[in-house]
């Protein structure tokens, strides 16, 4: 009896996930019955739904900062992320710097919020000081790179309102969904983000960022996607090109580990002092 119920529930779950997975054909069918805003939200929800359940990840990141004269500067970062299932809250992240060497061991703890400033603590290893910092401006440069705090913070559905534009081919003949996202956070550095979403895998291929004056500021491209745990797609390389100052940053991610066993208690202010 018990086994039968379990089997039934299992089949139901299997059926429901298959039924819920949004496809390009579904979107095409909806174009007449739903508004572009409704479709945009459905796409954003689908992106998030396909990326939930990873619990926590760790990865090693390398940033290559290039200025307009192609001079390079390197950042090396250890990144830890904790998925927060509550949709009204953002994820928790820890970043620890290894390079440049003068800030080796410096760590950032972020408890991200959707519509207000994140809670953020900075650990200065030489002073052994943990400092709560103001994070009102999420649009500032991260480590002098072309990525802002906003760009690397956790992506949550409620951080934007959406509008579906059209199906549009991306490079390499990938079928993409073009969606506009409008930040809800009042101190966001952007007025609009234009996303090209892979219509099959529901992952971003390209994002255009428009500044507060509504001019094109940056373009982010995602390359070398790899699927982990048969579910989660992560890019090996992200390139952020700034069109206004001609600088660019290449962000390489390596050694992804999913369900790494990290707990909420590992993302607390007191634990910052343990990091080296």
């Amino acid at each position: 009896m018990n086994t039968k119920i379990k089997l039934l529930i299992g089949m139901f779950l299997l059926f429901s996930t298959t039924a819920n997975a949004l496809t390009l054909a579904d979107i095409k069918n909806m174009e007449k019955s739903k508004t572009p805003e409704q479709i945009g939200l459905m796409i954003a929800t689908e992106i998030k739904a396909r990326d939930t359940g990873y619990e926590s990840t760790t990865a090693n990141l390398t940033m290559i900062l290039k200025n307009a004269y192609n001079e390079e500067s390197i950042r090396k970062i250890r990144n830890k992320t904790l998925e927060v299932p509550d949709a009204s809250k953002g994820d928790k992240t820890l970043v620890i710097f290894d390079e440049p060497r003068d800030i080796a061991g410096t760590a950032f703890l972020t408890h991200s919020n959707i519509l207000k400033a994140d809670d953020q603590w900075l650990y200065l290893p030489d002073l052994k000081r943990v400092k709560r910092i103001s994070s009102k401006s999420k649009s500032g440069s991260f480590m002098g790179s072309e990525f802002s705090y906003e760009d690397i913070s956790s992506q949550e559905v409620a951080k934007y309102t959406y509008k579906y534009i059209a199906e549009e081919a991306c490079d390499n003949n990938i079928k993409c969904l073009k969606v506009e996202a409008y930040p809800a956070y009042k101190y966001s550095g952007y007025t609009k983000e234009v996303l090209w979403i892979d219509a099959e895998r529901f992952i971003p291929i390209k994002i255009d960022y428009y500044d507060r004056k509504k001019s094109l500021l940056k373009t982010q491209t995602f390359e070398g996607y790899h699927q982990y745990e048969n579910k989660y797609w992560r890019p090996a390389i992200m390139v952020m090109k700034n069109h206004q100052n001609n600088k660019s940053t290449i962000l390489k991610a390596e050694n992804y580990v999913f369900k790494s066993g990290l707990k909420s208690s590992d993302f607390t202010k007191s634990k910052l002092k343990r990091l080296r």
Partner: protein, 391 residues
């Protein structure tokens, strides 16, 4: 020369694994005026600094070795070696243990480190109180949902170091550290104990602490040294200090407050330090952030307590962070003694030159009437240029 230093430093890393980091630096300091007191060094000095740190993580254990060295060309009293850290940490899920020599920081205020008491200040290194001597200690912490409690036991006291005859920024009478006296008959072996609770609720971070032990600041008593010269003799009292430090973080504003109440140095006294820091983000559409800091210090200690320069003082400063690839920063500030009208201006600027080289400039100017506690420094305006190579 540098090559050989690197090779020697790399020996533990190669043989034991773990990680080596740190810096070596060359420093030029320039004093604007000829010295005030006989025997003090002239206007230009150079120094070499080295601070390697070896870290080895093994499961839940962390081992740290971090020595510090300064070789000063003109002033042998300022040349010193200190073991900043030599410790074993054990990190369990909700508790931790540490034994050895270490450093502990408490507090939130920028211009005075009022509640920060575990480590002795390394007064030979800086006048801002941010460099500390390594403190032998045992620490046990419990990390809970309702906050963190840390217990500290310190078996050995580190005396404050002071410059000698040759040193700038000294009092006219030398402080004779060799004759230091203690209230406790156990001298520097009298154990110190402390307990600290920290937590955060929403936008508020709070710390409460109690310290019982030898005061990190000495009282100065008039005396004569073995050569028969008149000197200051440091006298270390036993104190009980209870403290609070709070920070409220709202959008661009940080509101900070520290308070202490101390018994054991004459009549019980109280002191508070507090202020605000406001940040203007992306100034004039650039990537730069401008921080504005205003802090106030009040200290009602009596004559049987160590002298303080923070009896009734204000501090204002601006911090400009360029948020560029080289992490260029400038902090310019001014202390105002509201009683004596003494002013101290200081500026600190730093930038990376490459990913491994960094240059820092620090300058301080003492101005005003010089009737107060810092009158001894009136001819000691200085600038320090430091070039560091990180590894």
């Amino acid at each position: 020369m540098l090559k050989y230093i690197f090779i020697i430093l790399l020996i533990p890393q190669v043989s034991l694994g773990g990680e080596l980091r740190g810096y070596m630096a060359g420093e030029i300091s320039v004093f604007r005026q000829a010295p005030q007191y006989a025997g003090q060094q002239g206007t230009i000095n150079t120094a070499f600094l080295l601070q390697p740190e070896y870290i080895k993580e093994q499961g839940k254990n962390l081992f740290t070795v971090k020595p510090f060295l300064r070789l000063d060309k003109n002033d042998s009293q300022k040349s010193h070696v200190d073991m900043r850290e030599l410790s074993w940490n054990y990190f369990a899920d909700d508790w931790e243990f540490m034994a050895g020599i270490g450093k502990v920081y408490w507090g939130v205020v920028e211009s005075r480190h009022l509640v920060d008491i575990i480590n002795q200040t390394d007064t030979l290194e800086t006048i801002d109180g941010e460099e500390k001597l390594g403190q032998p200690l045992i620490q046990i912490a419990t990390l809970q949902d309702w906050g963190t409690i840390r217990f500290f036991a310190m078996p050995y006291f580190r005396e404050r170091e002071y410059g000698g005859v040759k040193s700038r920024l000294r009092t006219s009478k030398i402080i004779d550290t060799d004759s230091a006296k203690f209230e406790s008959p156990l001298n520097e072996r009298a154990p110190d104990f402390a307990i600290r609770y920290t937590h955060y609720i929403g936008d508020i971070d709070i710390g409460l602490a109690n310290f019982y032990g030898t005061s990190r600041e000495p009282l100065f008593q008039s005396g004569t040294n073995k050569a028969g010269q008149s000197v200051w003799i440091p006298y270390y009292q036993r104190i009980n200090q209870t403290s609070i430090d709070v920070q409220l973080t709202t959008e661009g504003w940080l509101w900070k407050l520290e308070g202490i109440t101390v018994s054991g140095q004459g009549e019980r006294f109280n002191a508070v330090s507090g202020g605000v820091e406001y940040t203007l983000y992306q100034l004039f559409d650039s990537e730069a952030d401008l921080g504005l800091i205003a802090e106030y210090h009040r200290d009602d200690r009596g004559r049987n307590a160590p002298i303080t320069q923070f009896d009734n003082d204000s501090f204002i400063a601006t911090r400009l962070a360029f948020n560029n690839a080289d992490d260029t920063q400038i902090l310019a500030g001014m202390f105002i003694d509201n009683n004596t009208s003494e002013h101290t201006f200081s500026i600190e600027a730093s930038t990376r030159l490459t990913d491994k080289w960094k240059v820092e400039l620090e300058a301080t100017v003492f101005a005003g009437s010089f009737t107060g506690t810092s009158g001894f420094a009136q001819k000691d305006d200085f600038a320090i240029l430091r070039l560091s190579r990180y590894f």
